[in-house]
Point group: C2
C-alpha cells in the first residue's frame, strides 16, 4: 500500500509509471470505499485520479499553485497532500470537507464550492506572482461543465490578455452534473474528434495556447504533457479527455446519477438509504409536467441542476422543448425567464438558494426593473438545506427581498406552496419567487388562499393577545411550537401569524396588533441581517411595541449540525419562550 | 427634412438608398445638436446610424423584435420609432430616456442599461415565439465591448443550442467605453483583418452561423446583408465593423472621451461646463498612483470604467502593469482581486455601485468566504449618483453589508475616506469596501482615526441627550443639519454619531445611549430595506428605545430630481426635525 505512506506530493515524485498506476488503483479503491459508505462526489473524482497524480509528479505544490474549480474533483488532490487518512480510515472520513479548503492544507489556495471561478482566482495568483517577480507555475483545473458559466469565460479571456504563465487543465468528461448544454460543447466534441486539430477552437479564439490529450486517464501521457507545458511563459490550455466515473462500472454507465451520491452499495450501485416520504423537488416536477400538458407556454428552466425540481431524465424527455437546461449559467437563466415572460410565455426557474446568488444583477435589471412575471422556485433555502460553507441557503431573503417589484412568498405547507406556485404562474403583474419550505413536506388541512395578488396581506392563524408571533415559511412550525409552549408554560395565548410575503409589511395588521399586544416576535429561516424581521423592527421602531427578531446570525458556518446551529442562535421553542417570558417580566 | 416626418419604421421602407443616406445625415446632425446641448452617449450612437436604418428597412418592428444591449446605441432606433421629436425639438429632449424603455414605445422590449444582457433576453423572446408557433425575427444588437461580460457568452452559447431564428448583430467599433480588454478582442481583430474568413472564429466555436460586414456604415451593404439573414431558421451572427463617433471628427479621434459626454461645443468638441472643485475619482487615482510607486504590490482594477477612479489614459500608462482593466467583467474583477490578495498583493477595485451588483456571488464566495484583504471603492453609491432607473446607486448597502466577513466603511469626509482607504490597503484581515461619499468632497478639520481594525466602533461627534442621530457616510452632513435645527427649533442638543461601519453594530455605544436618550434616528444614503438603519432597529427592538430609520423607500425611481426624491422620503432636515418633535411629544 503506497497511499497510506504518502504525506506530501514529494513522496510520489520518484515512483515509476507502474507504481503510479498501482497508486491510482489504490486511490480509486479508497475513493469507492469512502464514497459508498459516506456519500459525496463520485464520478468527477474517479475520472481525475490519473491527472491529479500526474500534476503532483510534475508540479511542485504548494510552490506551484493548483486551483480547483468547484472542487468536485479535488479528493485525489487531498489524498496526495497529506490528507490520505481522511479517505482510508472511516473514523477520519469527516476530517476533511468535500471541497478545497485553505484551513485544511497549504496545498489548497481557496475555499471553493461554486463553479466557474478557478481561472479568475488563478489569474489573481498569477498577477501577484508577476508583481513579486517570482516564477512558479499557476495551474487552474476546470471541468467542461464549469466552462458554461460566464465567469469562466471572463477568466479565460483575461488570462490570455495577462499573457504570463498559467496552465489551464480542462477536464473534459463530456458531462456537467447532467449532460452539457450550450453551443460550446459542440466545439469540445469537434476538438475531441479531431484530436485537438480542428482550426475552429474556442480556447484559441480567446487567445490561449492549446494542447489536446485524448488519453486523459493515462498517467504517462499526462506526465509527459504536463512536463512539456511546465514553466510555459504564456497561458496554455491542456484539454484532457477523461472518463467520468472511471473504474467503477455503475458510475461509468449512469454518469448523472453518480455525479454525487448518497451512500451506495458497492456491488449494485444502489443507494443504501431509500428516500422516504414526499419531496418538494419530486412534487414540483410532477406538478409542472402536468401544467405543461395543459398549457404549452409553460417552460421549466434549470441551470445545470435539473433534479433540484424533479426533472429526472424521464421527465425532461416528456417535457421536450418545454424544459430548458441552460448549463451552469444562472445569469442567462434569469434573463431567459424574463424574456420568455415578456414574450407571453410562462417560465418557472427552479434553483438552489446558494446558486441564485450568482445572478443578483439579472434579478434586479433583467427581471425586476422590467417587472416581468417569471416565477422562481428557490430550493434548499433553509437551515435544513446544504450545510457546506459554500452552499448555505441562508442569504436569499436579504438577496431577493430588497429588490423592488419582486414578490417573494414563503409558503408554510404543501397546499400553500402549490397554491402560490399556481398563482405565480397565472398572474402577469410581478416577478414571483417562492421559498420552497426546507422543513419537509407538511400537509395542512387549513384552507389556503388561491389568490395572492393583494400583496403583503399576512394571515392570522391564531388570535391571541400580549404576544404576536410572526413565523415565516419553514419556521412557521417553530412558531406553532412557541405558541403552544407559551400557552402551557406562561399561560399566554399568543397571536400567531403566517406572513406569507417576505417582501413587504402588512401595515394594517401590524397597527392592529398595537391594541392588545406588547411584543412581536419574528421567526425566519435565514440570516437576520437584511432579512424579514428587521423590516418589522423598523416599522415598529418609532412606537412602543417591542420586537424580537429570531433568525441566524450573519456568519459563514461550515458543516454545521442543525440542532447545534439552532440552539446557538436561540432558535428552539424553549429558548424563545424563555426570552419572551423574561422580556415580558422586565417591562 | 425626412426625419421630422417619420412616425414609424414603416415610413422609411420605400426610400431609395440615396434618400436613406440623406436621412442618415439628418439623424447624425440631430444627434450632434442634441448631444452637444444636452449630453449623452455620443460615439456609440454616431456609429450605429446606418445599421439602425438598415435594420428598420429590412425587419418589421415591432413584429420583428430588436433588443439593444446596454442601449448606448439606441438613439437612432428611437428616432425611427416615433420619437424623432425628442431629438429635434429642444423642448422635447427630456421626453425620452437615454436607454431603451418599454414604457416609451412598443418598439422597445426591455428597459436596459447594464451590458451583456441582450442575447439572453432575446433568447427568451425567441423561446416564447417558438412555443407559440410564430415566425417573427428576433434580433439582438450587441457592441464588441459588451461581449466581454460573462452573461453575453452564456447567451451566445445558449442561443446556439436553442437553434432557432435569431440574428445577433455584433457592432464592432473596436472600443468598449475605453479600449477593449481580453483575449477575445484579438479574435475580433483577426476576423476583421481576414474579412471574416479566419477559420478560428469565436462565434463559430460556440456553434453560431456567422457573416462579416466590413462596411458597417454603408446602408446598402447592410440592407443586403440583413435581407440575406432575415428569416434564417437558425441563429446567425452578423459581425459589422463600424466607426465609433462616425461623422464627427472630434469623436472619431477621441473615442473614449466621446463615449459619453457632458454638453460640448460642437466646433471644438470641448466640454462646455468645466468641472469645478475636487472630485473623488480624480483624488483616488492620484492617491493610488502615488501608492503604487511606493509599493509595487498595489494593483488598481477596473471593469471597463477606468475613469470611475481617475485612471485617465495618462495615469493608466504610468501605472503600467499595476493597473488592470478586465473589460466589462465585474465577476472576474472581484475574483481577480481575491486571488491577488491571496497571493500577497494589494488589489483595489474601483467600481460604480450599480455595477457592483453584477458580482454578488463572487463577493460572497470568491472573496468573503476566503476572507481575502482586497479593497473595493464603491462610487456613485448615493442619491446624488446616477439617476437612471438602470444605474441607481441605492442598493449597495443591502447587497454588501449582509455578507459575512465583509467590512463596509462609510467615510464622511475626504480625510476620513483616505484614512480608511490607506488602512484597507495596509491590513490583511478582511475584505474591505469603502462607500465613497456622494455629496461632494468635504474637508473636515476633525482628526480622523488611522486604524479601523477594532471593528464596529462608532464615533460620537457631538455629545447630547434625548435624541441620538446616527448619520452614515454621505448623510452625515444631513445629520449635522438635523442636529443644528433640532437645537434651534426645539432646544434639544442631540447626540450626533458617525457610525463609520455599515456592517455591524456598536453594541456598547448603543447600550450607553439608553441612559439619557429616548429616540435614535438613523440616516443612510440608500434604500431602507435590508440596509443599515434596520440593524439598529433590530438591536433596540426588545427595549424601550424608539428608533426612526431614514433612507429611501424600496422602489425603482427613474430620472428623479434629487430634491424631490429627498422630500418625498422625508429626508430634509426640517421634515426630520418635525418628525422628531412629533415623536417626542407623543411619548
Amino acid at each position: 500500500m503506497y497511499l497510506s505512506n504518502i504525506k506530501s506530493p514529494h513522496d510520489i515524485k520518484g515512483l515509476s509509471t507502474e507504481k503510479l498506476n498501482e497508486l491510482a488503483e489504490e486511490m480509486r479503491q479508497a475513493l469507492l470505499a469512502k464514497l459508498s459508505a459516506h456519500g459525496g462526489h463520485v464520478g468527477p473524482n474517479l475520472g481525475m485520479v490519473e491527472a491529479t497524480i500526474a500534476m503532483h509528479v510534475v508540479f511542485d505544490s504548494p510552490n506551484d499553485k493548483i486551483v480547483y474549480d468547484v472542487s468536485h474533483q479535488s479528493y485525489s488532490h487531498k489524498m496526495l497532500t497529506g490528507r490520505a487518512e481522511a479517505f482510508l480510515d472511516p473514523a477520519e472520513y469527516d476530517s476533511v470537507t468535500g471541497y478545497t479548503n485553505r484551513q485544511e492544507s497549504e496545498h489548497d489556495f481557496f475555499t471553493v464550492g461554486h463553479t466557474s471561478t478557478s481561472v479568475s482566482l488563478a489569474c489573481g495568483l498569477a498577477k501577484a506572482r508577476d508583481l513579486k517577480g517570482r516564477r512558479e507555475n499557476i495551474i487552474a483545473v476546470i471541468g467542461d461543465g464549469s466552462l458554461s458559466g460566464g465567469e469562466a469565460f471572463e477568466g479565460l479571456s483575461n488570462a490570455a490578455e495577462a499573457g504570463t504563465n498559467m496552465i489551464i487543465v480542462v477536464n473534459d468528461n463530456e458531462m456537467s452534473i447532467a449532460e452539457n448544454h450550450g453551443g460550446l460543447y459542440r466545439n469540445l466534441q469537434l476538438l475531441r474528434e479531431s484530436g485537438g486539430e480542428a482550426p475552429c477552437n474556442y480556447f484559441r479564439s480567446l487567445g490561449l495556447d492549446y494542447v489536446y490529450v485524448d488519453e486523459g486517464n493515462d498517467i504517462a501521457t499526462l506526465i509527459e504533457t504536463f512536463r512539456r507545458v511546465k514553466d510555459c511563459p504564456h497561458p496554455v490550455v491542456v484539454h484532457i479527455h477523461t472518463l467520468k466515473g472511471k473504474g467503477y462500472a455503475p458510475a461509468e454507465k449512469e454518469k448523472e446519477r453518480f455525479h454525487w451520491s448518497m451512500p451506495f452499495d458497492l456491488t449494485t450501485g444502489k443507494v443504501k438509504v431509500s428516500e422516504e416520504g414526499e419531496d418538494y423537488g419530486e412534487l414540483t416536477g410532477a406538478f409542472l409536467l402536468d401544467e405543461m400538458q395543459r398549457n404549452r407556454q409553460v417552460v421549466a428552466i434549470t441551470s445545470g441542476t435539473p433534479t433540484v425540481f424533479g426533472f429526472s431524465p424521464e421527465r425532461r424527455q416528456k417535457a421536450g422543448r418545454q424544459f430548458v437546461d441552460v448549463g451552469i449559467a444562472e445569469e442567462h437563466a434569469v434573463a431567459l425567464a424574463s424574456g420568455i415572460a415578456a414574450g407571453g410565455g410562462c417560465p418557472v426557474y427552479g434553483v438552489y438558494s446558494t446558486f441564485l446568488q450568482r445572478t443578483y444583477d439579472q434579478l434586479s435589471q433583467d427581471l425586476c426593473i422590467n417587472n416581468n412575471p417569471a416565477v422562481i422556485c428557490v430550493f434548499a433555502a433553509s437551515v435544513w438545506g446544504m450545510n457546506d460553507v459554500t452552499h448555505l441557503g441562508l442569504f436569499d431573503i436579504p438577496l431577493l427581498s430588497n429588490i423592488p417589484n419582486m414578490v417573494y412568498l414563503a409558503p408554510t405547507s404543501k397546499e400553500e406552496y402549490f397554491a402560490m406556485l399556481r398563482w405565480g404562474m397565472q398572474q402577469t403583474d410581478h416577478p414571483v419567487a417562492i421559498r420552497v419550505p426546507g422543513n419537509g413536506v407538511i400537509s395542512s388541512n387549513v384552507p389556503v388562499d388561491t389568490d395572492y395578488s393583494d400583496l403583503n396581506r399576512y394571515k392570522t392563524t391564531q388570535q391571541g393577545d400580549t404576544v404576536a408571533i410572526i413565523a415565516a415559511g419553514s419556521f412557521y412550525a417553530l412558531g406553532e411550537s412557541v405558541a403552544d409552549l407559551l400557552h402551557k408554560q406562561e399561560g399566554i395565548t399568543p397571536t400567531l401569524i403566517n406572513p406569507r410575503y417576505l417582501t413587504g409589511i402588512d401595515e394594517a395588521m401590524l397597527d392592529g396588533l398595537k391594541k392588545n399586544h406588547r411584543l412581536v416576535v419574528t421567526l425566519e429561516d435565514g440570516v437576520l441581517d437584511g432579512g424579514f424581521g428587521e423590516k418589522i423592527a423598523r416599522y415598529y421602531g418609532p412606537c412602543n411595541m417591542k420586537v424580537s427578531n429570531y433568525g441566524v446570525r450573519k456568519e459563514f458556518v461550515d458543516r454545521y449540525d442543525v440542532s447545534e446551529l439552532l440552539a446557538a442562535n436561540r432558535l428552539t421553542a424553549p429558548q424563545i419562550v424563555e426570552d419572551i417570558a423574561s422580556l415580558l417580566h422586565q417591562a
